[in-house]
Structure formats: C-alpha cells, structure tokens
C-alpha cells in the first residue's frame, strides 16, 4: 500500500485516523497476549526445573561440578539501557521526520539542528537495536558454554524461547528500521511520511516495553 496513493486519493475514513495506525495498535494489543503467554509459561515453570543450571541459584550436579547462577545482571542491565536509549532515539527520529519541513529558527544550536536529522536517529535506533542483539547473542553463547541450552531443563526451554521471541521481534524491527533508513536516503522522509515512521516507532517502543517487563520478571525478581 503506497502512502502516496493514499494521500493522493484522500481516502475518507470514518474516524479520520489512518488505517495502518489502527491496525498497528490492534496488532500491539494482540502481541500483549502473545507475550503474556510466553511470560506466564516462564513464571509457571520458574523453580520447577529438575536439573540446573538455574537462573539465580547455584547448582551442583551429580559429578560434583558447580554451576554458578546463570543470569548475568550487569551485562543485561547494560543491554536494557541500550534498548531504552534506542527507544529515545526512535522517538526523536519520528520527531525529526515531523519537523523536516519546519524551517530552522535563526541561530539554532546543534541540538535543534540534530533534531531535524531523521537519518541520524534512525541509524542510531537501528545500531542500538543491533547492540542489544549483540548482547543477547553474547548472553546466549555464554549460557551455552556454561551448560544451559534450550534442551537442558525447563528453565532453559522457557528462558531461551521467551527472550528469543523478543529477540526475533527486535530483529524484525531492525530490518524495518533499515528499510526506513534506506527510503530516507533514497528519497527523503518528510512530514507526509509521518505515518510510516510512526507505526514503525510504535512497534519499536512496544518491543522495548516488553523488555522492561522481561527484565524485571526474568532477571531481577528471584
């Protein structure tokens, strides 16, 4: 669906709202249930694994091998921060697109200027998202090295699936962001494109919001 075609025909909508924005909110509502199922499952199985490694407690197997509590809070805190900042970058990207055609006031400082640079913010968002994914890749591989795989125990299955689902959402978001960046570079995004940036942003923030819940429920609460 081309946004150009839409605006060209001035489609009548009952509420005056854009179709796609309604759809993305309905989609986000639906995603709430998706993640609710994943999070419930994680919490239901919490503490029910027969063998370790465990998230917050040490585990010694029959051979006397010691497994540390597996969750790495400092690293995850950093990645959480990164994702939060990507949300900030995203909202600024949207603002930049909205402001594109507003003339800069005389004597604008660097901050006012950079606020107009949608490419900067889109790129920043995407890079921060990729950094988050990098952290996750690091986390997953180190867990595997420490003896926790998706097959090891209930904790492994639920943990990797929950965070993996989230990671897949981030990945899709990063692709989406790069697509926007590519459009911005090829033909420039302006206020008329507000919608397509807005729906990407809503998706991105939602993914961030889900992480806020996961960070607390999975990592911090014991």
């Amino acid at each position: 669906m081309s946004s150009h075609a839409d605006t060209a025909h001035h489609h009548y909508t009952t509420t005056g709202l854009e179709h796609r924005k309604l759809a993305i909110w309905a989609f986000i509502g639906s995603e709430c249930m998706l993640f609710a199922s994943l999070i419930s499952t994680y919490l239901i199985y919490k503490g029910r694994s027969i063998v370790g490694p465990f998230p917050h407690t040490e585990w010694v197997n029959e051979a006397g091998q010691v497994f540390k509590p597996i969750l790495d809070i400092p690293v995850t805190s950093a990645s959480t921060f990164v994702l939060l900042m990507s949300s900030l970058a995203m909202v600024l990207a949207l603002q930049a697109v909205q402001l594109k055609d507003t003339p800069l006031p005389a004597g604008a400082n660097w901050w006012t200027r950079i606020q107009r640079s949608s490419q900067t913010w889109l790129l920043a968002t995407a890079l921060l998202g990729m950094t988050f994914l990098g952290f996750q890749a690091y986390e997953f591989t180190s867990f595997v090295h420490e003896g926790l795989t998706i097959k090891t125990n209930l904790f492994g299955s639920t943990f990797f699936t929950l965070t993996g689902f989230h990671g897949a959402h981030v990945t899709a978001g990063v692709l989406w962001l790069f697509t926007l960046l590519w459009i911005d570079r090829t033909r420039g995004l302006g206020p008329k494109d507000e919608l397509i940036v807005d729906i990407a942003a809503l998706y991105w923030h939602f993914v961030d919001v889900v992480w806020i819940a996961i960070f607390t429920l999975v990592y911090l609460i014991q």
């Binding site: 605006t7 001035h10 489609h11 009548y12 909508t13 009952t14 509420t15 005056g16 709202l17 854009e18 924005k21 309604l22 909110w25 309905a26 986000i28 509502g29 639906s30 709430c32 249930m33 993640f35 609710a36 199922s37 999070i39 419930s40 919490l43 239901i44 919490k46 809070i73 805190s77 959480t80 921060f81 939060l84 900042m85 949300s87 900030l88 995203m90 909202v91 600024l92 603002q95 909205q98 901050w111 206020p191 008329k192 507000e194 919608l195 807005d198 942003a201 809503l202 923030h205 939602f206 961030d208 919001v209 806020i212 819940a213 960070f215 607390t216 429920l217 911090l220 609460i221 014991q222």
Partner: protein, 118 residues
C-alpha cells in the same frame, strides 16, 4: 469516535490524519528527560538487586513490579504518545493489556506460583 461525518471528512483530507484530535506533541527535551527518568529507575532497580537486605525484604518484588510498571507506562504514554493521541488507540491497547494481565495473574494462581493467605 463517532464523529459527525460532516466534520470527520475534512479531518482526513489534511495531513494531520494520523493525529487527528491530538494535543500538541512534547518537544525533544521532554523525550530526553523521559529517557533520563527511565534510566534512573533502571539504575535503582539494578542497585536494589545487589542489596541482599532489600532482596530479602517482602517489599522487594512488589516494588520492582511497581517500578517496571511505571517505566512501562511512561514509555507507552510518552514515546508511544498514547497520552496525546486519539482515545481510540488507548482503548485498543488497554483493553487487551487488561485481559493479558488478568490471564497472567490467573495462570500464576492456578499453578500455585502466587497465593493469597486468608
């Protein structure tokens, strides 16, 4: 949302389409400030995690939940500009959210991961 059609039609015609009926958007600084608040709450959360006395206290889990709920709400209201947007979006989001939360809580009770003492 049942706008009188006579008024609704022109709304769609101008470019404000996605934001019909909204209030003014906050400016960049507001977003940065919101980001700072989010960071501060996250720092408090992680800090609390490292204080054994806090972790042991019965208030640890509830306060973490409250803090993350606040973060959640801030992002949704400001970054997802639900606070400024059409109320229909709020309905589309909060309705499912309530059902989702209700389901999580009910499931946790059913699996005895939560319990109330009478």
């Amino acid at each position: 949302m049942s706008h009188d059609p006579k008024h609704a039609a022109p709304t769609a015609a101008h470019h404000g389409g996605p934001h019909a009926g909204e209030h003014a958007h906050p400016d960049g600084w507001t977003y940065v400030k919101v980001g700072a608040i989010l960071t501060i709450i996250t720092i408090i959360e992680v800090w609390a995690y490292y204080i054994p006395a806090l972790v042991a206290s019965p208030f640890f889990n509830p306060s973490l939940l409250i803090m993350s709920a606040v973060k959640f709400a801030i992002v949704v209201m400001f970054y997802m500009h639900l606070k400024y947007d059409h109320k229909l979006f709020r309905v589309l989001f909060t309705g499912p959210l309530i059902i989702a939360m209700g389901t999580i809580v009910a499931l946790l009770f059913l699996f005895h991961q939560l319990s109330v003492k009478f």
